[in-house]
């Protein structure tokens, strides 16, 4: 299997391209994703290379988040496989009803008569763009029966998971952290898919488990390296999909290490870390040698000022401290 180094963005683009080639019914709908002959190519340029070859499949819309997602639902119910792009995850609240009440519930409400194979892609994460352009929200959506929630942390994961998302007959919220778009990684030349519900063990270890979500996975791996030099063996697990969640891999690790820290960029309060901590506590109680540690953003919107934002959003130091704290219990 040959691999080459490409960016997270290009990996996404390849996934979209391959799936559009594979299925006529796949199209992309969103704001500024095509943008005319030159092609704006999406706010984060994910669709930039696709306009030329797929001009009829990239549909630019007015500023209508509700209808972007809602139209995707209607199209999906009648045979299409749309990929809707929401520019910033913060804006997804505009389309909450269509995502949570319509997309997630249609298959159920109609007793299985209709399914909604949509992918809603959105850019999440804090990069100094202010309180309404920086959120990562995942637990809201984990909370909704009928939705799949996916956060890749590497180009390899991004491509494989996006392809699976497009082929999934269920609505998928696919979150792309803005800081990852330019990150490079090895991606095979050959086509491949990554199933949902399979966590990835980024580095094996024996002393403590760190479950790190999305962008935090990379940070956690970095912290694990530092701690390894200090004699601590850290196992980093990236769940990759939060719904469905691979609790088995996480539990296996906790049964080995007896200590665990869960890390996410979401607000710590009622974040995905809370759900995972509760699940781990239920599944592995008699294996725990310390309370489950959690790292998340402080309870505030993410400020415009850079040092404030950095104070609010978790970083490598926070992960490091949390691991040390759990070890010292």
């Amino acid at each position: 299997m040959t691999t080459r180094e490409i960016t997270f963005r290009d990996a996404l683009s390849e996934a979209l391209r391959e799936e559009m080639v594979r299925e006529e019914s796949v199209f992309i709908i969103g704001e500024d994703i095509y943008g005319g002959p030159g092609g704006y190519g999406g706010a984060f340029k994910v669709t930039k290379d696709l306009g030329k070859d797929f001009s009829d499949r990239l549909l630019d819309t007015p500023m209508i988040e509700q209808t972007i997602v809602g139209a995707a639902v209607g199209a999906a119910m009648t045979g299409s496989r749309p990929v809707a792009e929401i520019m910033f995850e913060d804006f997804i609240t505009l389309a909450m009803d269509l995502l949570v009440n319509t997309a997630a519930k249609t298959h159920y409400m109609t007793g299985g008569q209709y399914c909604v194979p949509i992918v809603v892609r959105a850019a999440c994460g804090a990069v100094g763009v202010g309180p309404q352009h920086s959120q990562t929200w995942t637990s809201w959506f984990m909370h909704v029966p009928g939705l799949h929630v996916v956060l890749p942390s590497t180009p390899y994961d991004a491509k494989g998971l996006l392809k699976t998302a497009i082929r999934d007959d269920n609505p998928v919220l696919f979150l792309e952290h803005k800081k990852l778009y330019n990150v490079k990684g090895n991606v095979p030349e050959e086509e491949y898919v990554i199933p949902f519900g399979e966590a990835s063990v980024l580095c094996p270890g024996d002393d403590v488990t760190v479950v790190a979500i999305g962008y935090m996975a990379g940070l956690a791996s970095h912290v694990a390296g530092t701690l390894r030099d200090q004699g601590l063996s850290v196992e980093v697990i990236d769940p990759r999909t939060l719904a469905p969640l691979d609790l088995e891999t996480i539990s296996q690790s906790v049964r080995k290490t007896h200590k665990v820290v869960v890390v996410a960029e979401d607000c710590k309060t009622a974040g995905p870390t809370a759900e995972i901590a509760a699940l781990v506590s239920e599944a592995c109680f008699e294996y725990l040698d310390a309370p489950v540690g959690r790292v998340g953003a402080r309870h505030a919107p993410i400020a415009h000022n850079v040092s404030m934002a950095e104070y609010i959003v978790p970083d490598a130091t926070d992960i490091h401290e949390a691991v040390k704290s759990v070890m010292a219990w």
């Binding site: 007896h258 109680f285 008699e286 294996y287 725990l288 040698d289 310390a290 219990w329």
Partner: protein, 398 residues
């Protein structure tokens, strides 16, 4: 107003004492100078006297409890005096074992006082360990898995158990080792640190059996006891050791001590366990003398009258486990000795003699040796010498 009775410092080095016996009960009237309780110190058992007259209102520390000097052990006062609910003057150190189920401090035991992680609790349960013991061992309130394991290791080392770490939820009876057992456990644990090897060879017992039969005829009448193989082996081994001095030695940091005398330890079973009394200068004794000495030692052992000096100074040990039915033994070294010989059970072996099948009595003899002092060649030489002597005993014993 009630006054406290504290544990006084009764000797220069005394730091704590064990309450052996309360001589009065709560509610008793006591006079100044009356003996209240007996305390065991590092030196002796001493009676503690009441300093004032009054009623023994409350006993705070029960019998068998070990408390530091200065601990409040009782209250004396007038009838009806209120007893303040105060902490002991010198609350016991957390590491100190409180063997009584009652707490020293007046407040009752809080079942939640031990904080342990879930995995620590499970491990303790599986190993049959009391979390409070772990708490005292590690000296901290919060117990993690590593603390339970540390306690389990320490306990295993002290008791010498070599069982599997996690016994599961199986029921067991806990037996407290006797001082003798503890001493032996400690002693033999030292053997584990010595690099040992063993070598064995088969010995034809035909001649020895023949000689024994001849000698046995009037032996008992002359000596008052029956002649055993062990009696006969002792002088033979002692003689073999004369030509194999490294088997009669000890490795030390300064060098290898080759002992000039051969003090032969002879392993014996007693109802209290295994003992190895020593026959001094065995190579200078005749068969009858060695045998008599061994018998003396045996009788003393059985009667629990063996003086300590008879257990000291051994330079080599023989252990005849053949009488227990063991065919081949691989004995454990008896530190600081560099060698030990085990003798197995006599058994019939089918051989061809002049083309005809005959049975001969044979046995295995095994030497275990300190490989720092004795190598395979020396061990083999020793075995060969012992074998030679056992197969031709008449020259020595006859």
């Amino acid at each position: 107003m009630a006054t406290q009775v504290i544990l006084p410092k009764l000797t220069y080095e005394m730091e704590e004492g064990r309450i052996l016996e309360w001589l009065c009960e709560e509610g008793n009237a006591v006079f100044a100078g009356q003996a209240l309780f007996v305390v065991e110190t590092d030196k002796a058992s001493i009676e503690v006297l009441a300093e004032e007259a009054g009623i023994l209102l409350r006993v705070l520390v029960p019998t068998d409890a070990v408390v530091p000097v200065g601990t409040a052990v009782a209250w004396i006062g007038a009838p009806g005096d209120a007893i303040p609910e105060v902490e002991a003057l010198h609350p016991p150190k957390e590491q100190e074992a409180v063997s009584s189920p009652q707490d020293i401090i007046v407040t009752s035991r809080d079942p939640e006082a031990v904080v342990a992680s879930p995995v620590a609790k499970r491990l303790a349960r599986e190993l049959g360990i009391d979390l409070e013991d772990v708490q005292k061992h590690v000296g901290q309130k919060r117990i993690r898995e590593v603390d339970v394991r540390a306690y389990a290791d320490a306990r295993r080392t002290a008791m010498g158990t070599e069982g599997p770490e996690v016994a599961g939820d199986a029921e067991f009876e806990l037996i407290k080792p006797t001082p003798l057992q503890r001493a032996m456990a400690l002693h033999l644990s030292q053997a584990a640190a010595i690099p040992q090897a063993a070598a064995a060879c088969e010995v034809n017992l035909t001649s020895l059996e023949l000689l024994r039969n001849e000698l046995s005829a009037d032996w008992e009448a002359s000596h008052g006891f029956r002649l055993s193989y062990t009696h006969m082996l002792a002088p033979l081994v002692a003689l073999a050791l004369e030509s194999c001095p490294t088997l009669n030695a000890t490795w030390t940091d300064e060098g290898i001590r080759l002992y000039r005398t051969i003090n032969l330890g002879v392993a014996m079973a007693s109802d209290r366990g295994l003992v190895v009394p020593v026959v001094r200068a065995a190579n200078q004794l005749l068969l009858a003398e060695i045998a008599s000495e061994i018998v003396r030692l045996q009788r003393a052992t059985m009667g629990n009258r063996l003086p300590p000096q008879d257990l000291e100074g051994g330079t080599f040990t023989i252990t005849n486990v053949g009488m227990l039915g063991i065919t081949l033994s691989i004995p454990l070294l008896n530190p600081p000795q560099s060698g030990i010989l085990g003798i197995g059970a006599k058994r019939a072996q089918l051989v061809l003699k002049d083309g005809q099948p005959v049975t001969i009595p044979v046995t295995w003899i095994t030497v275990a040796f300190d490989h720092r002092v004795v190598d395979g060649v020396a061990a083999a030489a020793f075995l060969q010498r012992v074998k030679e002597l056992m197969e031709n005993p008449r020259s020595v014993l006859g």
